[in-house]
């Protein structure tokens, strides 16, 4: 017989679960923290830092496009490295990380009434792997040959050949390794978000009482867990092609007059894998934005979100449909042309649930009590830019219309408006909205007004006219637009104008960063619920919330998240954890 005695390191059974993860030192509180809120801030800070790199890269690109031939250091090679890194950083390392790792970590446990994510240690690991992925990405700037210049789509064969910057140097290898790491890290976080939403909701928080923010982030996470594996295998295969000489994506090729050893691979297979991930990715960024903006509009218009159930089903429907539209990015890729019929139809069908969401946002404003706070301003600007960018999607999604516009500046304008500007406006609105919960203080209103107007109008002035450059036929991804018969002087002036607006919008972001830092100490005290909102994160006993989020008892939920201006109620909002019969809860009966 063996005596089984508990080791000292194993805490006795009566220690509360929360205690197990409770930080006991500075390091475990602020650095290797297992508190989702700290992880959220780490994710957000890292994403913002790498996002600043992407911002600077966009300035460099605009210098070249607006004033070609003026800046000698921007060679075509450097230009392609800038566009590649700008695109990849913005889509993956900023937007995905910020929405899911940042907002997801902070808001999911608080909004569903949980003490933390269900797997805190794995959650912590997720951040550190993400950081490693970012560092590998950054290291490619310092590697011999510099970062890859294959475009953020990394299409083979050129991505791994000479003639493309970084193709036969370290650039492409570091890029692929970084993406693989990112996906590993994301999967750890993503599993957490999904399980937490499904398993850790507090009593009374039925799925149909969840705030739309949680619905958006939850659906996006499920999609990401299904979509990222496609990118993962594509990256692994391309890494093999590049490093081991396999031929997954490489057919017989002549490179600069010399026959390569590859044969039998399919470049277009990569495109299918990439866009099988890449299109859902658009909605992985958009759905959290949809969810968050719904809550911003509802709270600041003091009115319930219009058509909540329809909004939930639209989110789920868009999420599902987005897996069968990927090849609309490939209408002119040389795939079988009959695919065009199928993918154009699915793509235009997805416009219906998307339009429903837009209607419901503006119908929430109808007969509301609209407070034009900074978060509300950003929400309104989101609707304008999202409608604009969504509608130009109807050009590009409609296969034959895409033929002349594909690979032109029209595409650049479209996707920046719809998945760049619009979601980022939501991020800004969300930061102004939740900053008081995170720090206990309000962001400065005057700086916020400045930031909002320059960003919204500036971004619109950048990307709305840019569509027309595409209509002229000017191709995208040209390091110089000079040697072209279709290029006119007036188009050149428009390019210079767009560049100047880009610098101004970029400057406004520096003001915003200053506001973020300055207001931590100098902002107005916010109190626990400055916006008089209903959702659970505003009902915590302490602001900022401590580890474990809620006090001794978890809140119990009695109603949906949108009891604003309920007839007969004294206040114009009733928090979710307030019992009583005012405005019976409106979840599906």
């Amino acid at each position: 017989m063996v005596d089984i005695t508990p080791a000292d390191a194993v805490p006795p059974a009566e220690v509360g679960e929360m205690e197990l993860y409770h930080p006991h030192s500075w390091w475990t509180k602020y650095v290797f923290s297992q508190d989702a809120k700290v992880i959220a801030i780490q994710y957000s800070a890292t994403a913002t830092a790498i996002g600043m790199v992407a911002l600077v890269l966009s300035w460099l690109m605009r210098l070249q496009l607006g004033f070609p031939g003026t800046f000698d250091f921007i060679t075509p090679e450097a230009y392609y490295q800038f566009i590649t890194m700008h695109g990849m950083i913005m889509v993956i390392y900023l937007l995905t990380a910020l929405f899911l790792g940042g907002f997801g970590n902070y808001l999911i446990p608080l909004m569903v009434g949980a003490r933390d994510m269900v797997f805190p240690y794995v959650n912590m690991l997720s951040y550190w792997i993400y950081l490693l992925a970012v560092l590998v990405l950054v290291s490619s700037f310092f590697a011999p040959g510099g970062p890859t210049g294959a475009g953020w789509t990394l299409y083979p064969p050129q991505a791994i050949m000479t003639g493309t910057p970084g193709g036969q140097d370290w650039g492409i290898i570091l890029m692929l390794v970084s993406l693989i790491l990112f996906i590993i890290g994301f999967t750890m976080g993503g599993l957490n978000y999904v399980v937490t939403v499904l398993q850790a909701r507090t009593r009374g928080m039925t799925l149909m009482r969840l705030p739309l923010t949680v619905w958006g982030i939850f659906t996006a996470t499920v999609m990401a867990l299904l979509a990222f594996p496609a990118l993962f295998v594509a990256c692994v295969m391309m890494l093999f092609d590049r490093a081991l000489g396999t031929s997954f994506f490489m057919p017989a090729i002549v490179e600069m007059g010399e026959q390569l050893q590859h044969s039998g691979g399919s470049p277009i297979l990569f495109q299918h894998l990439f866009w099988f991930f890449g299109h859902p990715e658009v909605y992985i960024v958009a759905l959290p934005a949809f969810g968050i903006v719904s809550d911003l509009i509802s709270t600041h218009a003091r009115k319930n979100i219009f058509g909540y159930r329809m909004m939930v089903w639209a989110i789920v429907g868009i999420g599902a449909l987005s897996f069968v539209v990927w090849a609309h990015h490939m209408y002119v890729s040389g795939m079988h042309p009959y695919f065009g019929f199928f993918f154009a139809t699915t793509t235009l069908i997805i416009a219906v649930p998307t339009a429903i969401k837009v209607y419901n946002w503006v119908l929430t404003l109808w007969r509301g009590d609209i407070h034009l706070t900074i978060p509300m301003l950003f929400a309104l600007a989101f609707i304008v830019t999202f409608v604009n960018g969504g509608l130009t999607g109807l050009f590009l999604g409609n296969v034959v219309v895409d033929v002349p516009l594909s690979d032109t500046m029209f595409v650049v304008a479209h996707f920046h408006m719809v998945m760049g500007v619009a979601p980022i406006l939501v991020i800004f609105g969300a930061i102004y909205h939740w900053y008081p919960k995170v720090t206990g203080r309000m962001l400065n209103e005057t700086l916020g007004q400045f930031h909002f107007w320059v960003t919204f109008l500036g971004a619109y002035l950048i990307f709305f006219p840019m569509h027309y450059l595409g209509l002229v036929g000017l191709p995208r991804r040209y390091a110089e637009l000079t040697d072209m018969t279709i290029m006119t002087d007036s188009a050149h002036h428009l390019n210079s104008f767009i560049s100047i607006m880009a610098f101004m919008v970029g400057f406004a972001q520096l003001v915003f960063l200053f506001n973020l830092i300055w207001s931590i100490r100098h902002g107005r005290e916010a109190g626990g619920n400055p916006w008089r909102a209903t959702t659970l994160e505003w009902q915590t006993s302490e602001t900022p919330p401590v580890h474990g989020n809620f006090g001794k008892e978890l809140p119990i939920v009695y109603r949906w998240a949108y009891d604003y201006s309920v007839p007969g109620a004294k206040e114009d909002f009733i928090p979710q954890n307030v019992p009583g019969s005012f405005g019976t809860s409106k979840e599906s009966a």
């Binding site: 042309p337 219309v401 002349p404």
Partner: protein
């Protein structure tokens, strides 16, 4: 107040910009004016929706802005309104999709009288091959590509001997005759794009892709590459000249066939540097210089 006004100005400004902008598509030179018409339909429908949504929003912001004592209405759902809006949207989307698919079916179904013309892309130049007297292009294979046989034509295929090879020079096409462009690449992805023809298609090493069109007016048109193909991408220009039938025949008479080009005394080709003896980096810069010099 100010916010509502700005929203109205965004709509008015966007519409005026659209109407007054000097940036519009180039005069068309092919039969694909169907595509232009589809774009116009799309502009109308999307323009109306954009204006309606943003103006409605501006009205809400103006009419329902917060004033002391205001209280929002409480209306969680309105099934009738929601289904009505869904139906209208579905109708609008169908109105876009149906003409689009109709034109697409024309785009992908090549008329039987179309002449085949092969375009071969390589970093960073365009070459062309036209069928000879037999009207048939000979088969080709990338693994056959060499300095003497830049397009990789298979010499044992009799159909290929009389093919006209136009290496790194202008392509001529007769006006009014449908052509099927067979697109091939011997290195990376490229995309054959002439803005005035409205059509474009990627070229993939290892596959042959295609599109067809009928040139509708004579003139000189610039070919651009529309798929990022490395650092020389913006330099990858070419020329298509649409000729009258007589000019075209005259031009064709001056071209050399594959058989003539591969005769032993004429092996001198555009690229004198023997492959493999110089570092790849300097081969790229040499290539870029040749391309830029043109």
């Amino acid at each position: 107040m100010a916010v509502a006004l700005v929203l109205v100005l965004v709509v008015v400004g966007s519409v005026l910009f659209h109407l007054l902008s000097p940036w519009w598509w180039t005069p068309i030179a092919s039969n694909w004016d169907y595509i232009d018409h589809t774009i116009i339909i799309t502009f109308w429908i999307t323009g109306v929706v954009f204006a309606a949504v943003v103006l409605f929003m501006a009205y809400c912001v103006f009419r329902f802005r917060h004033r002391e004592g205001n209280r929002a209405a409480y209306e969680p759902e309105n099934k009738r309104l929601e289904s009505w809006l869904t139906i209208v949207t579905a109708v609008g989307v169908t109105a876009l999709l149906v003409p689009g698919l109709f034109v697409w079916s024309r785009f992908v179904n090549v008329p039987s009288d179309a002449t085949e013309v092969e375009v071969v892309g390589q970093q960073w130049q365009w070459s062309f091959r036209l069928p000879g007297k037999d009207g048939k292009l000979g088969t080709s294979d990338t693994s056959n590509v060499s300095a003497e046989n830049p397009l990789g034509v298979i010499a044992s295929d009799p159909n290929g001997q009389d093919d006209v090879v136009v290496e790194a020079a202008d392509l001529h096409l007769p006006v009014g005759k449908p052509v099927k462009m067979l697109l091939r690449s011997i290195d990376v992805l490229h995309d054959f794009y002439v803005p005035e023809f409205r059509a474009k298609m990627d070229m993939i090493p290892g596959s042959v892709t295609y599109f067809w069109f009928t040139p509708t007016r004579t003139g000189t048109f610039q070919v651009l590459c529309a798929e990022l193909c490395g650092q020389g991408h913006p330099l990858m220009n070419g020329v298509v000249m649409v000729d009258t039938q007589e000019d075209y025949v005259a031009w064709l008479g001056e071209q050399q066939t594959f058989a003539q080009l591969s005769a032993p005394q004429q092996t001198g080709s555009a690229d004198p540097a023997p492959a493999g003896t110089v570092a790849p980096g300097s081969r790229i810069s040499a290539k870029l210089e040749t391309v830029e010099a043109r």
